[in-house]
């Protein structure tokens, strides 16, 4: 057991593993090979060495991994899995099952581009394609945030009875080593007590979970799911504040920086936000009125916050490392829909860039700001960095 907090240089993958260890997860089920990451490799070592009192169930597919998680969570176990790209896509059916059955499973998804052609590099389309499955989605920027979001994920999930997907960029976070504080178990236990499930299956008293719901009741169950998502906004903020008190780090729904008097705003998510921050700081040093908004929580979508933050600004650039084929960048689409009810909307331009791990540099962000400044209207998509 980790008795004293210590800061170590570890990768994002391993930060997730430590988050799971500290959350005292009881069942881990995962498909062990590509596109799997070192997240579960380290967890399997924790379990094998006895460092972690959990059952580690390896399965033949991600679909089965999620099915096993659902089984474990149905009897009240704290349950975790990790996957990536094609593996997440294969889980799709079971993702609906987990949320519909109100099981507070937490998963780490390493953003990797979907095949074909094969790619193991970062791209958010895999997780964003699961936006309607009823999972909360947290896009983290640092390895520390990854570890923290696992612990927070269980806390919020178990409160509102919805599953959480913690999303990390492949390589940019997953394989990058940086200092991460690994907390002492005592403090984590204080924040995250053992899970006591309000609904759970008991072998001696058979009940049906997810049985047939006729048209007389199905609708209401869906409304309840949506209400749970709405409650989650509040829960994320409240638990975030509690977490900050104990651990000194606060995470909300969105993160805004350099926003005072900002006329132009960069909106993005995930690891790209760090690169954007460095660029925005440069531009601020040059005296330009540019701000940054990082969308941390994608589901439930923070439309109220975005209206407050972006209302009254002149121009907004949404940077998407993802693409909804036949439409455009997914964060772009969501930001626009959030702002639509406002009478005075900023000009919102969607930039699609960095797909499949294409490097995005601070210079790119600065150039995007220049590009935004010139625009008077928004085309459907601005492709950034495509070799024509």
């Amino acid at each position: 057991m980790i008795t004293a907090s210590a800061t170590k240089v570890i990768t994002g993958n391993h930060a997730v593993s430590y988050g799971v260890l500290l959350s005292r997860v009881q069942v881990i089920s995962a498909y062990p090979i590509t596109p799997q990451t070192q997240v579960v490799e380290l967890l399997s070592e924790f379990v094998a060495s006895g460092k972690m009192a959990a059952r580690f169930i390896t399965v033949e597919s991600e679909h089965s991994a999620m099915a096993a998680c659902i089984g474990a969570a149905s009897v009240g176990a704290r349950t975790f899995t990790a996957t990536s790209s094609q593996g997440l896509a294969l889980m799709h059916e079971m993702l609906h099952w987990a949320s519909g059955a109100r099981l507070p499973i937490v998963m780490a998804n390493i953003n990797r581009a979907l095949a074909p052609p094969w790619s193991i590099w970062t791209d958010q389309t895999d997780s964003l394609a699961q936006r309607d499955t009823g999972w909360m989605q947290i896009y983290v920027e640092t390895s520390q945030e990854a570890l923290d979001s696992i612990i927070l994920g269980f806390k919020v999930s178990e409160r509102v009875l919805l599953p959480t997907m913690v999303v990390l960029d492949a390589f940019l976070l997953s394989h990058t080593a940086e200092p991460v504080e690994i907390y002492d178990q005592g403090r984590v236990d204080e924040f995250l007590p053992p899970f006591s499930a309000p609904y759970r299956l008991k072998p001696g008293v058979p009940q049906a979970l997810g049985g047939l719901a006729d048209p007389g009741v199905y609708f209401e169950f869906r409304v309840k799911l949506q209400e749970a998502m709405e409650k989650a906004r509040e829960a994320i903020l409240e638990e975030g504040k509690r977490f900050a008190k104990l651990f000194g780090r606060f995470y909300g729904l969105v993160q805004e920086e350099f926003m005072e008097d900002a006329e132009m705003v960069i909106v993005t998510a995930g690891a790209m936000a760090g690169t954007a921050r460095a660029a925005v700081r440069e531009l601020r040093n040059e005296g330009r009125k540019v701000g940054l908004v990082r969308i941390r929580v994608f589901r439930p979508f923070p439309f109220v916050e975005l209206r407050q933050i972006l209302g009254g600004r002149k121009k907004v650039a949404v940077l998407d490392r993802n693409l909804s084929l036949g439409h455009h960048g997914i964060f772009y689409e969501e930001v626009k829909s959030a702002l639509y009810p406002m009478a005075a909307r900023p000009l919102v331009v969607g930039y699609v860039l960095g797909l499949g791990g294409r490097d995005v540099r601070p210079e790119d962000i600065q150039a995007i700001v220049d590009d935004l400044e010139m625009r008077e209207e928004a085309p459907e998509i601005v492709w950034w960095g495509v070799k024509r």
């Binding site: 240089v9 976070l173 791990g357």
Partner: protein, 190 residues
């Protein structure tokens, strides 16, 4: 912020070297970030790893490749013949090469400071890796300390002990020997 790029071949330990270096700098309070060139590693294939080291109060926000390094470390001198090894290296930057030859013998432009150390021989002497494939990553870090003075030798040795699972003391001795034997050209005029 100092940016470092390490070139090697799969199996030489470039990624572990970057991790040790970052860990050593972190032990001295620096902000650090390290990552491999994102790809699918194969034994013998050229690989690269990156390290960023910044002042303690300077957060490392950016997450993109190192394209304009201050320092390039080359674990296999034959890589110098391939394109791109010195690409983007800033003028006055440092090139540290694993080579038995003196710095002047390498065909490296004079705008760079060149240092060489026979890390392969040192690794063999300390029985690191195999005869055909010595693991040179820890030895080269000893030389790195002497040439750059970016971190202290003790920090690197501590980081080696923390990050090398097999024969850490052999690796420590290799780093110490490389520290003592590295040869450096005069600092290039800035």
């Amino acid at each position: 912020m100092i940016e470092i790029r390490i070139h090697g071949r799969g199996g030489q330990g470039a990624v572990v070297a970057s991790k040790i270096l970052a860990d050593a700098a972190f032990r001295e309070g620096h902000s650090v970030q390290t990552f491999p060139q994102f790809g699918v590693e194969r034994r013998g294939a050229p690989v690269a790893a990156f390290v960023r080291i910044a002042d303690p109060d300077e957060p490392l926000w950016i997450r993109c490749h190192v394209t304009t390094p201050h320092i390039v470390i080359v674990l296999d001198a034959t890589l110098l013949e391939t394109a791109g090894i010195l690409e983007g290296l800033r003028d006055g930057g440092i090139v540290l090469v694993n080579s038995p030859q003196p710095p002047d013998a390498l065909a490296i432009p004079s705008k760079y400071q060149v240092a060489t150390v026979d890390a392969s021989a040192i690794a063999l002497k300390h029985k690191l890796g195999t005869r055909t494939q010595p693991i040179v990553n820890t030895a080269i870090l000893g030389a790195f300390v002497k040439v750059t003075r970016l971190v202290r030798l003790e920090s690197v040795l501590e980081a080696i002990r923390e990050n090398v699972p097999v024969d850490p003391e052999g690796n420590v001795r290799a780093a110490e020997e490389a520290f003592a034997t590295v040869l450096s050209s005069a600092r290039a005029a800035a």
